[in-house]
Point group: D2
Chain length 337, copies 4
Amino acid sequence: MRRWEMDGFGRDRLELQQVPVPQPGPGEVLVKMAAVSLNYRDQLIIADGMGAPLDFPFTPASDLAGTVTALGTGARRFAPGERVISTFFPGWIDGLPEGDSAHPPYQSLGGAYPGVLADYVALPEDWLVRAPDTLALDEASTLSCAGLTAWFGLVERGGLKAGDTVLVEGTGGVALAGLAIARAQGARTIVVSGSAAKLERARALGAAIGIDRTQGDWVQAVRAATGGRGADHILALAGGATLGRAVEVAAIGGRIAQIGIIEGFEASLPLGPLMLKQITLNGIGVGHRRALEDLVRAVDISGIKPVIDAHYSLAALPAALDHLDRGAFGKIVMTPD
Amino acid sequence: MRRWEMDGFGRDRLELQQVPVPQPGPGEVLVKMAAVSLNYRDQLIIADGMGAPLDFPFTPASDLAGTVTALGTGARRFAPGERVISTFFPGWIDGLPEGDSAHPPYQSLGGAYPGVLADYVALPEDWLVRAPDTLALDEASTLSCAGLTAWFGLVERGGLKAGDTVLVEGTGGVALAGLAIARAQGARTIVVSGSAAKLERARALGAAIGIDRTQGDWVQAVRAATGGRGADHILALAGGATLGRAVEVAAIGGRIAQIGIIEGFEASLPLGPLMLKQITLNGIGVGHRRALEDLVRAVDISGIKPVIDAHYSLAALPAALDHLDRGAFGKIVMTPD
Amino acid sequence: MRRWEMDGFGRDRLELQQVPVPQPGPGEVLVKMAAVSLNYRDQLIIADGMGAPLDFPFTPASDLAGTVTALGTGARRFAPGERVISTFFPGWIDGLPEGDSAHPPYQSLGGAYPGVLADYVALPEDWLVRAPDTLALDEASTLSCAGLTAWFGLVERGGLKAGDTVLVEGTGGVALAGLAIARAQGARTIVVSGSAAKLERARALGAAIGIDRTQGDWVQAVRAATGGRGADHILALAGGATLGRAVEVAAIGGRIAQIGIIEGFEASLPLGPLMLKQITLNGIGVGHRRALEDLVRAVDISGIKPVIDAHYSLAALPAALDHLDRGAFGKIVMTPD
Amino acid sequence: MRRWEMDGFGRDRLELQQVPVPQPGPGEVLVKMAAVSLNYRDQLIIADGMGAPLDFPFTPASDLAGTVTALGTGARRFAPGERVISTFFPGWIDGLPEGDSAHPPYQSLGGAYPGVLADYVALPEDWLVRAPDTLALDEASTLSCAGLTAWFGLVERGGLKAGDTVLVEGTGGVALAGLAIARAQGARTIVVSGSAAKLERARALGAAIGIDRTQGDWVQAVRAATGGRGADHILALAGGATLGRAVEVAAIGGRIAQIGIIEGFEASLPLGPLMLKQITLNGIGVGHRRALEDLVRAVDISGIKPVIDAHYSLAALPAALDHLDRGAFGKIVMTPD
């Protein structure tokens, strides 16, 4: 079978190797890969490990969908033939992750643990969740990170309800997952983007309002479009100074889910409106397995559909990473062929 | 009777005037002032209205404690002789305040409404709350703003529980109120200050841990003092770049109540630990009447005691404001004589 | 203008009187009635006041929709021509209602306060809420009690999310409102009824699963239909011994909203499953104005549609009450003609 | 070493056996027993398994405190010499327990799993929690079930805050744990008991109010003692018809933690006050490991002290069970000698 491996940092160190199919150990299952969804952070990991050491040879990527083909001894959660997806942070089942003030948890697949860009992957059964019945496996692979992150910010932490207004920054994988989740829960949706073409595509997906941030002050535009109310929930995907705009555009009692850092890991924001508008800012780091199981149920019952911008075959990883560099409308998914 | 009035911005425009005792209108009560507690923001209002217009002649200050001496027609919530305190934001009873995204609510006494630095004040009865039985009125006057702000951050929004670790920045009125509330609910308390003398006084009030921020890295010091866990709740009173230190010192799942802006209205903070530690940042703007009533009950049952640094007579307002400039250990309270 | 009045308990004491159009007092608005929705409890009030005294002559009914035609002095929340609906419990704005352990609050329109079965009604402006833009006024009138009760149980107290399973008992006004709200938030819906014909109509409205409680053990049927999971949320509309069945049918962590008392005011329930399944039982008594405003927003954004079984002209109240006796599929609404 | 074993249902089938010290398996630790706390349900299990099958020979009891003396391979959470306590429901770490509507989770030590009445017990390390530093091990053993149950009802599910009024039914282990927790969080405490002598002892432990339920209507007595407000939190330990009294005595917005079933597994309660007072009834079944860790921290920081009525040596189990039959004031604890 094939597996992408790198023996040092940098995209040019990636090699598609031929390796034996792994044997599932005690409590593990063997998964035949059907799809692997890529994330922006995979690029950062490949570049320099995001500042953390990696065990070389290292395999990138975290979001796997596939079919169980063999069980290790004692494995009992899944049967051969079942369709499964991976959890981003193995071991985070519910509540809060482990760790302390100086050592935040960040033990993810394709990071502290080996990744999933391979024809077969053996994983502890507790690291997997049943895939939704109503999605193909390429779609299902997008739930592990992008889908769960949007769900965690809007629903698990945000308590989204029908009639709320949800604003998403951009049209990447988390943004469009948030758009679909917000619509499924009866919310009004606003997409802010710098591309008129992408806004057009977002409207076609059901976004109620599209705001072009290159055309004047988008904070004022959102306020005008909501009769002054502002946004009840904001998926903050830009980070940096844009987090301050999220504070400005929020409604009284608004909730901001801080997720992305495209404009920088250091944010600035105005404290006056944060305090007077009683805003809650939640730091979101993907989410736990129980919420992923909730999301799978929501997908099957409410018809949430992930958006895939492009598929690439496993061998075409360099082209897929180039696409990721250019920015995707939704998700980029790798498949075996 | 006497009342402080200003006919323009600036401390030198304050005059202690002789005016008639006001008559309570329909639904109002007349309160004989026993104490007025000063806040840092009173200085900002006197200086320039915090950027908002004021109706001149204007009377500053928001936090009144006194005794009801007369009732307007239809007033029924209080009887003559009852001891009462004022609410900071009249009309905010419960839930969220009114307003919209561009116009955060900030309709306070001693701001959009006339203030209370006078021998008698007539107020709508709904703007008042019964004073706690176990406090003298000078102590009770500190609950309206400083006490309620700390309570709102720790309890109403923070869900404080026994065994949590609470960190307060500084030793001002909100910080020491937070210290008392945290102790009353069985929490461990940490005070961070730049003054060894103030830390000594804080320890005498029951602070479990005092950290001198002028002696090395206080984030590391707090982590060391908590076995690496960090602080579960932080009363962020500095604002500016110090909000970023609050993010660093927080525990997994930590809650930061953003309250103060001594170091600036624009904050900067690191998004990595905010996201990975699943931190919640709540913007706090004092609080509503129902929470003030909860606090009054908590004071009477659990023995919470406000800390008063100094008393000044009503006529000595300039000296009191000078004291506020120098920084107080707890609250500064004006009394009639 | 016309107004229904009774000078003593009992349906035969109701008379349609000719009275002058009322003048709105200070802070009041005059509303031209377009629709009045009837509730089961209106029958109880007419019969004996539900054990409480009434001021005779008394006008029944609480749920008004209409158009503002005149303003009293000081009224500023609505303009002439605006479409409004009434709040069931005037004065309950947010948070908890007033009252104490022995004297639960129950100060409703058409109860402690005069009701709305009249061509024109003058009410304090704070007792009204803007009607949704997307509903006709006959539909809008059903929100004040039935709609808000379902919303309060499922969303305000229940935290409903997409993918949850919602079970409603019966096909009355609250049940069908709950069905619509659950569907709007992406939940799976189950209706339990004793009538195959009503189940057929409920399925036509989008109920995913209909269970005929006259055909065997409905608790087992629901468990089977949910793969053993049970119901995450239950709108308990029967009361009496049926509340115990709600406990049995609930999922782990399930939430029961206790609303109805058709089978009796005294309930019995098994404590073993209540404790082991970590069930939360919330007593629901309609809800507050802020939640009604949330519901209005949800209606406009998510397309929630109330179900009206029949319309009656104002003069046809006796026939409408007879219909209520027989049991309605959704709501019964009175209109002027 | 010694271990109590039964080869069939009934107290007369209990035998103190001599058996080899167990070897800790992979991921297990060996604990030298210092104390085992008994619970009312241990009697029910011994009598008939509470209707569930047991694996004979069976060892009763769930609440162990002791010292780690050996580690199995791979065990890493504890070091030899560390003081630990057991979790009541192994595997319930956070959030909700596993199970479904028809099969509530009830996989406890001394039930579905073997119990701990032995000189040494080998357990998976994940089933243990560090004991608090400030308690002796006999006191610490009472936290696993009684302490955690009270904590879960009041704090984890109840959101207890300073100034609330907490009512506990009786003076058993959970009731007195609740009393201590409520006092540590600044609440006012009410104990209702049928014994004047036990009320005297409860007052000596700090109960603010003691109500003798044999002297007239205790609901009225509690209302009178709280100025009409009633109780904000009730630990409902009686079950049966007494749950209805809890509903009557509750405050507006009151929270009832349903815990005990001494008067029967079938409860009856009045729905009128449940609905109008907006009461929340939470079914409590002990709690999860994360909350037990929270409780351990609360014990160390706030000085919560369990109440032990009597100690018995391991060999004196029959006498201890007789004491349990008579009813204990707090907990009964077994020690090696």
